[in-house]
């Protein structure tokens, strides 16, 4: 399946650690992976499945236990550190502990593999830096000190640095960790756009399943045992790989909703009728309250949601009484009282 678009591919890859004569295998081989130009790949998997190890191995930061990695047709083993640095750039989880470093000089460090022995920047270097700054939209930050940045700003700056390194492949290790929701979405959108506009191959590891499913062209799903499933995200949902991967102490994946089910230990059955947005949110509220919604069998209560003229009403039908409520909150309070 190798083509002109293939930036990186691995053969029989096995990752892990080698200390002394002890091999700690993290990902089960043989892995034959590819990163194509313009492709955004999300590496998903539960904690401890070996996402970072795989990423570090692909980036050349640690040797593979077995197999080979080729980038643009050259085995990474044979590349010098500087040559490799011109192929793969990284955004890591490491905090940059340098308060006196300005954003501009940090981004400029991305030119390290290209600049002179003293680190002097040429005009060409400067224009690449400018491009990286504008791509990530951090123009307003360039004179700020690194320690004054928010986490979201910090990640954008680190991304700009990686862009300044001007490599066909970009790898990011959990770039959305520590970010608030808007920043997460912003960053993912930015990466999605970058992949399309710059034709870079972007590989990122993340826990953000929802976001990954929306932006990723391909998902690599690592399972705790070390198996790796790859494919379009939708395929992985449909063939049940997701569900299987995350089954762990009551963590269930709801194919229909495309989300994890948190409340899986609910026992009290309840019937919900009605449709639309209001019914969707009512179901969520009931699940949180400990009810199993619309399972076959007898249920003590039935909730009927209806909407008339923009006014939503909830009718609760019990064994011997029926009441109407004007909000989910009051409905939940009544149910809570009745349970006792």
């Amino acid at each position: 399946m190798s083509s002109d678009l293939t930036l990186l591919h691995t053969r029989d890859l096995q990752t892990g650690y080698l200390s002394g004569s002890r091999r700690t295998v993290i990902t089960q081989g043989p892995l034959d992976l590819e990163i194509l130009a313009g492709q955004l790949i999300c590496l998903l998997g539960p904690n401890g499945a070996g996402k970072s190890t795989l990423l570090r191995t692909l980036a050349g930061l640690q040797p593979a236990l077995q197999g080979s990695i080729e980038i643009e047709g050259e085995a990474t083993k044979r590349l010098t550190p500087v040559q490799l640095a011109k192929k793969v750039s990284l955004v890591l989880t490491d905090r940059v502990a340098s308060s006196n470093l300005t954003v501009y000089s940090l981004v400029a460090l991305g030119r390290y593999p290209y600049s002179s022995w003293l680190g002097l920047l040429s005009e060409a270097d400067k224009s690449v830096i400018e491009w990286a700054v504008s791509m990530t939209g951090i123009e307003s930050l360039i004179d700020r000190k690194m320690h004054t940045l928010s986490d979201g700003e910090n990640q954008k700056v680190m991304l700009a640095r990686a862009l300044a390194q001007d490599t066909p492949i970009l790898m990011l290790d959990e770039p959305t960790a520590h970010l608030d929701l808007p920043s997460r979405i912003q960053l993912m959108r930015l990466l999605h756009r970058l992949a399309r506009q710059t034709h870079k191959g972007i590989l990122l590891s993340t826990h953000e399943l929802d976001l990954a499913l929306q932006v990723a062209g391909e998902v690599w799903l690592l399972q705790p045992g070390g198996q790796l499933h790859r494919g379009a995200p939708e395929d992985l949902v449909l063939n049940g790989v997701f569900e299987e991967a995350f089954v762990k102490d009551g963590v269930l994946y709801d194919k229909a909703a495309g989300a994890f089910i948190i409340h899986s230990d609910n026992t009290v059955p309840i019937t919900l009728t009605g449709s639309g947005v209001a019914a969707f949110w009512t179901q969520r509220a009931l699940q949180r309250q400990g009810f199993v919604v619309n399972t076959p069998g007898d249920s003590l209560h039935t909730v009927h949601v209806s909407e008339e003229g923009g006014v939503i009403r909830w009718r609760l039908e019990g064994k011997d009484q029926t009441q109407i409520y004007g909000s989910i909150g009051t409905l939940l309070n009544v149910l809570r009282f009745r349970e006792k």
Partner: protein, 347 residues
């Protein structure tokens, strides 16, 4: 704009260095008219041969030593702080200083054995040289040990801890030695321990200059590597740096600088910690290409001022330079700790 500002500060510091140098040379326990000092400095001749001796043989070499010590200690400190990503690191952290210390102690305290003492005395002319070489050997020995361990370690924090441990072991060996030694010899060793700029003359000054120059050149050539290390080892590697190689080069440079200066002047503390911080806030940069020369200037000005202060105008006594640098440096370190809310934030 920013560039000219930095250039301006460099020129300002150069002028300050010149002034501090002249101040250091003009002030001393013996009053010599300023005009006479300048005449001796520029024509190396004076009617008063005593004055000529004092300026030419005492004050000038001492001021030169102060400048060299300022260069070496501050650049050594800067490199360590970057390498270990720790604002409180300085050459002493690596155990280089205590290694030099052990070398000196091994010669000075030589087991109280009159045999070895006799051997030193027989060498006569080379007496002080022997101590110097011993210090260099001690520094080098510890450096090799740290290097050997560093090739097995991938973490700077581990290396920092190992450096401190080696330093402590070395110092306790010295303490035991001291405890068992002839008090006269211990006294001489303790005096050396005070640190002094006044003992470096003639050919020693030449050697010290060479050693410091070599260390500085290596440091300057690795300034790009040091910049990359500011981001931490993983980032540095991803940008094409080989951390192990870089570490060895930086350690070599630091050992030359710190070991050489410790050998010739005794342990002089705090300059290595304080100067890089002063320089960073003065130049508002993290670029080692600028920081290294700037540290040289700030460090040498500071050392010259400390030396001038040590001479206590009006008194015939001179305070050990170590005490002055500690008096100035220790509050600075406290300031650093108080004002860096997060000690890992530096650079």
């Amino acid at each position: 704009m920013e560039g000219t500002l930095k250039k301006g500060r460099i020129i300002g510091l150069l002028l300050l260095l010149l002034l501090a140098f002249l101040l250091d040379i003009s002030i001393g326990s013996i009053k010599i008219p300023l005009g006479e000092v300048f005449r001796i400095l520029f024509s190396f001749h004076s009617e008063n041969s005593t004055w000529q001796f004092i300026v030419e043989k005492i004050r000038f070499p001492k001021a030169c030593t102060a400048v060299l010590a300022g260069f070496g200690l501050s650049v050594g400190g800067l490199q360590m702080q970057t390498l270990f990503r720790n604002p409180l690191a300085d050459p002493a952290v690596l155990g280089v200083t205590s290694g030099a210390n052990l070398g000196v102690a091994s010669i000075m305290l030589a087991g109280g054995g009159s045999a070895s003492l006799y051997a030193i005395k027989e060498l006569g002319f080379s007496g002080s040289w022997l101590i110097t070489c011993a210090a260099c050997a001690g520094a080098g020995g510890v450096m090799l040990l740290v290097l050997a361990l560093s090739s097995r370690l991938n973490s700077n924090v581990m290396m920092l801890i190992i450096g401190i441990m080696i330093g402590s072991i070395t110092l306790s060996v010295i303490s035991i030695w001291q405890y068992l030694s002839d008090p006269d010899l211990v006294k001489e060793y303790l005096l050396w321990n005070f640190g002094s700029l006044g003992g470096v003359t003639g050919s020693q000054l030449v050697i010290l200059s060479l050693v410091v120059a070599a260390g500085l050149i290596i440091a300057f050539l690795s300034s790009k590597k040091l910049d990359a290390l500011l981001l931490g080892e993983n980032y540095a590697r991803s940008m094409g740096l080989t951390p192990k190689k870089a570490r060895i080069i930086i350690i070599c440079s630091t050992s030359l600088l710190a070991g050489g200066i410790t050998a010739f002047c005794g342990p002089i503390g705090f300059v290595g910690i304080a100067v890089p911080h002063i320089t960073r806030s003065l130049f508002n940069t993290s670029s080692h290409r600028i920081l290294i020369p700037a540290c040289c200037l700030v460090g040498s000005v500071l050392m010259l001022l400390c030396d001038t202060a040590a001479q206590l105008p009006g008194f015939q006594t001179v305070l050990p330079i170590n005490i002055i640098t500690a008096l100035i440096g220790a509050p600075l370190v406290i300031w650093i700790i108080l004002h860096k809310n997060n000690l890992r934030n530096f650079g």
